[in-house]
Structure formats: structure tokens, C-alpha cells
Amino acid sequence: MYDKLFPPKKLVLPNGKTIAERRSRFPLAVILFLAALYVSLQFTGFDPQTIVKRWQQFFVIIQAMIPPNWSYTPAIIKPLLDTLKMSLLGSILGSLTAIPVAFLASSNILKSKLVHGLAKVFLTILRTMPTLVTALVATFIFGLGTLAGTVAIYAFTLAYVGKLLYEQIENTDMKAFEAMESLGMNRLQAFRYAIFPQILPNYLSTALFCFEGNVRYAAILGYVGAGGIGLLLNEGLGWRDYASVGMILLILVLTVFIIEQISEHFRKRFI
């Protein structure tokens, strides 16, 4: 289509052959980009003047957070541990469940198109649901509290680790698997001894990485009543007690930083 509107440039090479150089797509991309930009600006009511006039308002809350309310720390510790437990349990259970699901979803191990197609669709739908929405649905089913948060984190971890895992399984070296099958092992045994050792380091690293992110996600789950430190955050924001909010955020940043360092240390060892 594009080539018909703007015919390719003809070039004559020194040896007499003519070749066609296709015109650059760059102008089209720029036009489309600008159009999208214009539409988005209209839809969101973007107004630079507001920012210029009222940007100090953004720092009003930050100023109220400094200095943080140090005496609030004891009240934070238990919800913080709840958040950590939620994300730990959800991540571990989710990564464990991801193994059988990824096994079902990988097309080089199961030949039945129906099974791995279904498993893939399941993982995709689970992955596209925003975690907060899953948590909200979970609070309706499992009641308010940490259980709902754990379920939401579990679902996200299952989908995320499951997807990366089946992609790795599909990319592994199948020769060992075939050799084991020809020795008379069944598929499960061959998977255990030929594929699993190949994917194990990557799997552990993915699971740890997911746990890292989950701590951060779990922090906001309390906003919809799914337990953990988010409950306090919601409370503090609701009552405009910004000094306490500042303390919560400070402790949260510290925790996430420590966990990131630990997990990075182990991830480097695995690979």
C-alpha cells in the first residue's frame, strides 16, 4: 500500500543492474505519532499552564511528610510483616503452581494442541488482569484481610512465572529429552531429568525477581482492603496525616531496597 503511493526509488548499480530502494517509513510514523499525541492531548485535557501555575501544590504533601512521624514506627511493623508474608507466601505458592501449568502450556512436550492452547489462554487472561482488580475480586470472595491479598499475588505470580517458564521450556535443548524417551522413560520422568535441570536456574531467578516486584505491589493491595501496609497508607491519606504516611513510605522504601539487594545477590549466583 505504502509502496504504491510512494514508488520505490530506482538505483542503477555500476554493473548495470537496477534495484529498488523502498522509501523510508519514517515520515508516516511521525505523522501517526503526532496524530496520536494530538488526540491524547484532547482526551486528557492536558494543560501545561496548570502545571506552571500550581506545581507547588505537589510539594505541599511532601513538605507535610517531612519530618516523618517517628513515633508511628511501632504501629507499622506488624502490617509491614503482614505485607512481606503475603508476598512471600503468594510468590512461593504461585511459582510452585507455575511448574505444572507451564508443563501443560509448552508445545514441545505435550503434542495435544487443545491442552497447551487452553493453558496458554488461561495464563494470558490471568496475566492481563491488573493485580489490584484481582485483589478487589478476591476481597469479595474471601473477605477482607490478608487472604485476599495473598490470592491476588498468587494469581499474578502464577501467570508471570508461568509465562516465562513455558517460553524457556519451549526454547530448551530437546535432544536430551528425546534420548530419555527412547530409553523408555515416560514424558514426566524425561521432563524431570532432561528439561528441569536446564530451566532450574532461570526459573529460580524469575521467581525471585517476581517476589521483588510483589513486595511493591502488595504494599498497595491494602487500598482495596486486602490487608498489609496499604491499609495504614489508605488510613493516613484519608485522614491527611501525612507525617505518618511519610514514615510508612520511608520504611517501605528501606524494606524494598534491602529485599532487592538480597534477591540480586542470589540471582547473580543462580545464573
Binding site: 499525541l37 504533601i61 492481563t128 482488580v133 469479595f140 473477605g143 490478608t146 487472604l147
Partner: protein, 268 residues
């Protein structure tokens, strides 16, 4: 056979380490189980679960195809617009920050400080930023755009830094040796190496921002989130079903397109 066995025994034994690690993991699992409280689970959970399922199976099709400001299509376009503008703003802000935190561009202490700052930005939950920006702009999609841009900076800058630190400096040296000016070195030596990576990372982040934008409605920052919450809180599961189906489809389509673009970009 003996040789193989000898090699096997000669390999380093890590048993104490493995046992310790397994023990720690088991203790952690046991500890984390203490958080599960089953007493909050009510019998009504099952009926709600089944009504959610039936709502998703029989979505409110009318809502999916009304093209007014309350209809699902309009809100989806709004959500996409929030994510799009937010990603662009975020990427523009992330570029200088990423150069400031690349250890091969600036001195170590500066890089370290910028990194600490980025970690701080990354960890504060999006909803908190949302509430802060609502003070600036008032409730609405504009606050959403600003929130998304601030939230994206952290991850974008982190990935940009990786690309910058992988820069092939040999090209720059050879350009110096043939007498290129600084501007020429940047234009023809650095930019071509980075553009495709940066674009690919930005498209990936747009993908994620779509999901973020979908929940920002919780604090009144525009997009599809607000009607979703209202529908849930008033138990109108058919509406919830139609919004969720639309959301999943939207995210899937965007993901497919962005994956194709990114593959093309990386292949060149």
C-alpha cells in the same frame, strides 16, 4: 566408569550450604503461613464467586457498545490516552536521569545518588502519586497522565542505564581518530546505538502503563478504573463482566502489537 565416578566425587560438595538454605526457606514458608486468617471467609463467598462468573459470562453488551462519555469505548480511549501521554512524558524525563546515573558517563558518587533517588521514586505506590497530583490538577485524566509519567521514570531510567552502560566505546574512539566533532560523535556514534533500545523499552513500558492507568481510577485520576469500582461496590456483576472483558481484550491487542513492533525494532 571409574573415571566418571572419580570426577563426580571430586566435584565440590555444597551440602551444608544447601541444607542451610533449604532450612531458611522452609522456616520462611512456615512463618508466612501465619498470616492466613480463615475466619474472615464467609459462606457468601461462594455465591458471590458464582455471580461474578455468571456476570462475566453474560456481560452487559449494551455498555460495551455505547459511544457516549459513560460508555466503555470512550473510557478505554481515555485510558489509552493517559497511558500514551504518560509514557512519552516519563521517557522524556527518564533520559537525562539515566545519563546522570550511568557510571561510564558521570562520576561514581553522582551516579550512586541518582540511583538512590530513582529507587525512591520507584517504590512509592502509584496511588500516592495520584493523590498528590489531584491536588495540582483536580480529579480527572490529567492527574492520571502526570502520575503515570512519574511512575514510569523509575523503571525506564533503570533499563535505559543498562543500554547506556553497554555502549560500544570503540566506535567513539575511531570517530575521534578520524577527527569528528563532539556533535558528530553524539549524532552518528551514540544515538544510532541507543535509539532502537530506548524505543523498545518505551513501548514495553507503555504496555505496563496501560495496566497502571486502568487502576488509577480508584483515586479519581480518570480512565476505566472508576466505573469498574463503582460497578463492583454496587454488585452489578454484568457491568463488571463487560468492563473486564474489554480490559483484557484491550491489553491483549496492545501487547500483541507492541511485541511485533519491538521485534522489528530489535532486528533493525
Amino acid at each position: 566408569m571409574d573415571k566418571i565416578e572419580n570426577y563426580l566425587h571430586a566435584s565440590e560438595r555444597k551440602t551444608p550450604y544447601t541444607v542451610m538454605m533449604s532450612l531458611i526457606v522452609v522456616v520462611l514458608i512456615g512463618w508466612s503461613f501465619t498470616t492466613i486468617q480463615l475466619q474472615n471467609v464467609e459462606k457468601s463467598g461462594w455465591t458471590i464467586a458464582s455471580s461474578i462468573l455468571s456476570g462475566i459470562v453474560q456481560p452487559d453488551l449494551g455498555l460495551l457498545f455505547t459511544f457516549t462519555k459513560q460508555g466503555v469505548p470512550y473510557l478505554f480511549v481515555e485510558t489509552i490516552a493517559i497511558a500514551f501521554l504518560g509514557t512519552i512524558l516519563g521517557a522524556l524525563l527518564a533520559i537525562p536521569l539515566s545519563f546522570l546515573s550511568a557510571s561510564n558517563v558521570v562520576p561514581k558518587p553522582v551516579a550512586w545518588l541518582t540511583r538512590l533517588f530513582l529507587i525512591f521514586i520507584r517504590t512509592v505506590p502509584a496511588l500516592v502519586y495520584g493523590l498528590m497530583f489531584i491536588r495540582v490538577t483536580g480529579p480527572g485524566p490529567f492527574a492520571g497522565v502526570l502520575t503515570i509519567s512519574l511512575v514510569s521514570i523509575g523503571m525506564l531510567a533503570k533499563l535505559f542505564v543498562d543500554a547506556i552502560e553497554d555502549l560500544d566505546t570503540k566506535i567513539l574512539e575511531s570517530m575521534t581518530s578520524i577527527g569528528c566533532t563532539t556533535f558528530e560523535k553524539i549524532r552518528f556514534g551514540i544515538v544510532p546505538q541507543l535509539v532502537s533500545f530506548f524505543l523498545s523499552i518505551t513501548i514495553y513500558r507503555f504496555d505496563m502503563n496501560l495496566r497502571e492507568a486502568a487502576i488509577l481510577g480508584l483515586v479519581g485520576a480518570g480512565g476505566i478504573g472508576a466505573p469498574l469500582i463503582f460497578a463492583m461496590n454496587s454488585y452489578r456483576w454484568n457491568e463488571v463482566g463487560s468492563i473486564l472483558i474489554g480490559l483484557v481484550l484491550l491489553i491483549l491487542v496492545v501487547e500483541l502489537i507492541s511485541n511485533r513492533w519491538r521485534q522489528q525494532l530489535v532486528r533493525g
